[in-house]
Symmetry: C2
Subunit: 347 residues, 2 copies
């Protein structure tokens, strides 16, 4: 049986990266002439069919939107997809979902696969590995070939396209100001590594709020959690770090960038004999189910995932249906305002 050769197989055979193969096939000058020749000859030999998006766009409309998200076990992304679906269905579009699993290679492969005639355009959030490598050629080439992309949540300035983002900085600032106004003096932030822009911006908002109250931010109150701990399976290690944080500081306020951190922090506080909200008040960024059902229920900064999805779908479909007007140069960035929902973890 004749099998279609894939980018991945070419990369494996020639012992180069998928990114290199992808660039070499597009004759990018980032790749040495020698490698380009080798890749192109190999692809020809095995009848690799490059991604002729422009060609397929001329001939048909699939009425399908391709969604690419970094991971599936995540309430926020589910809500975004729900929002995309709502608008897509109303306007006669289907959606299919591809998963990058936070991997650059998977992102490139899946985009290549979906772009190859299955969909009219992408709505996507960038994988962590891609953000670390800062290699965005696959997005730029897709756009250059005439297939529109709308990015949400995890976006980068380097890519010219429509974007939907949350106002992370001001959302965080609002939360920390609330804690300060409720009398907290020693507020810790539980956040992620900086290369995720959301972790960075929320930390920035935390620092700005403290500055408004003339409080110098204290590095020992900024707990940056390793990625792998943002999972239900690694709660024990997260708890250890939180116990250390509580034990070495006298904390009366916690701002967490997601609800798993917040719920775990409340549990740890309780185990140390601290009462929430009497001794420690807690606010979390969130778009999940834990906030409402935790005890006490969590005061949160809501991210409005569904609304982000709806806006992203509207931007994409508008662009798809007005493509003859040639407004490629005017990209829009929609900023979704966050909302502070007060529950029982604050006074």
């Amino acid at each position: 049986m004749k099998r279609k050769i894939t980018l991945k197989q070419i990369a494996r055979e020639l012992d180069v990266s998928i990114s290199t193969v992808s660039k070499a096939l597009k004759n990018s000058h980032e790749i040495s002439q020698d490698t380009r020749d080798k890749v192109q000859a190999f692809a020809k030999l095995y009848n690799y069919r490059p991604n002729n998006i422009a060609l397929s766009l001329k001939n048909r409309k699939t009425k399908t939107i391709g969604i690419m998200i970094p991971e599936i076990v995540h309430h926020f992304f589910s809500k975004v997809i729900k929002g995309i679906e709502l608008v897509a269905n109303k306007r006669g579009y289907n959606v299919i979902v591809g998963l990058s699993n936070e991997s650059f290679d998977k992102e490139v492969i899946n985009m290549e696969m979906l772009a190859n005639g299955s969909i009219d355009g992408f709505i996507l959030s960038i994988s962590k590995e891609t953000l670390l490598q800062q290699d965005y050629h696959h997005f730029n080439e897709t756009i250059n070939q005439g297939m529109p992309i709308v990015m949400f949540d995890r976006v980068v300035d380097e890519i010219q396209c429509d974007k939907v983002i949350v106002d992370d900085l001001n959302g965080a600032k609002k939360a920390v100001l609330k804690l300060l106004n409720k009398g907290c003096k020693h507020i810790a932030i539980i956040t992620t590594n900086d290369y995720l822009s959301i972790g960075k911006l929320r930390t920035e908002g935390y620092i700005q709020a403290l500055e408004e109250f003339n409080i110098q931010s204290n590095p020992s109150l900024i707990l940056k959690i390793e990625d792998k701990l943002l999972s239900d399976e690694n709660v024990d290690e997260l708890e250890k770090q939180l116990i250390k944080l509580f034990s070495s500081n006298s904390i009366d306020g916690i701002f967490a960038v997601n609800e798993l951190y917040a719920v775990t922090a409340m549990k740890v506080a309780r185990s140390l004999g601290l009462s929430v909200p009497k001794d420690v008040q807690v606010i979390s960024f969130s778009d999940g189910v834990l906030s409402k059902h935790s005890t006490p229920s969590l005061t949160t900064v809501s991210q409005h995932g569904q609304e982000m999805g709806e806006k992203a779908a509207e931007l994409l479909i508008n662009r798809l249906e007005n493509e003859d007007e040639g407004d490629e140069e005017h990209y829009e960035t929609i900023v979704i305002e966050t909302e502070l929902i007060e529950r029982d973890s604050t006074k």
Copy 2:
């Protein structure tokens, strides 16, 4: 621009259902000759390209698995997808995900779209509407054309294919026996409508457990919740029904078919001055994040969503890679055993 006509458009133009169009194009004798002629003529006029799965299968392998799930905002389905992905990636396959949104029409349209050259086989769970209508022609035709399907969780006997299911009946029985052994005398079940086999089987397990203790099941202790209440937005109405259940019966045990029901029941019990587990013990079917983080944490019957996904992917890929052996007649049903995880909502 020439647009490809879709099943949906044909259905709308001729004012018939998508199912009728799909069957008429396949010349099914369930559809009147008149309608078949009309649909076929229309399809020809607009160059509708029917789904030539068999043809596309002969020519290429996509190395992609199509997953069709009823809804995305659901931790169980996310876990299944994670399991499928793990095995698929290990064996060199990609996955793409389609959503039926519990709609028969969307299920038919999405399967048609994915089957049309994008994927090698399906892993799917049937939509509620399809289960209600009992119209399974789209599954049977896909299988007959040579594209394998593996079904998980929501399956039906009428379709001959590989299946992965949870032992719902025995899982429920185990949970209720545990409550009985811990001294509960008046156990209520909070379940779904019967047309979802999971609700039916779990209710059956509940009744069998009571019978082992010579307890006659009491209809007023069986609370069947309307579908639309299985959502975070309709918790208020769910609470009202639970208050009624508690007020009109003296209940010392609750078995819930999902964790949202259980967590809400604990909240209602608390508001009525009952303590969990002292006055009321609670066990829930679950594969979510609420169980661990609720107060008290929930004793659950774990569904092992990830394991279901792994098994389903193994079944499908094995079948795809051994297709020349002609074992079409031997379908396998893998039953995943549930596991009782004791936490603080039982004594």
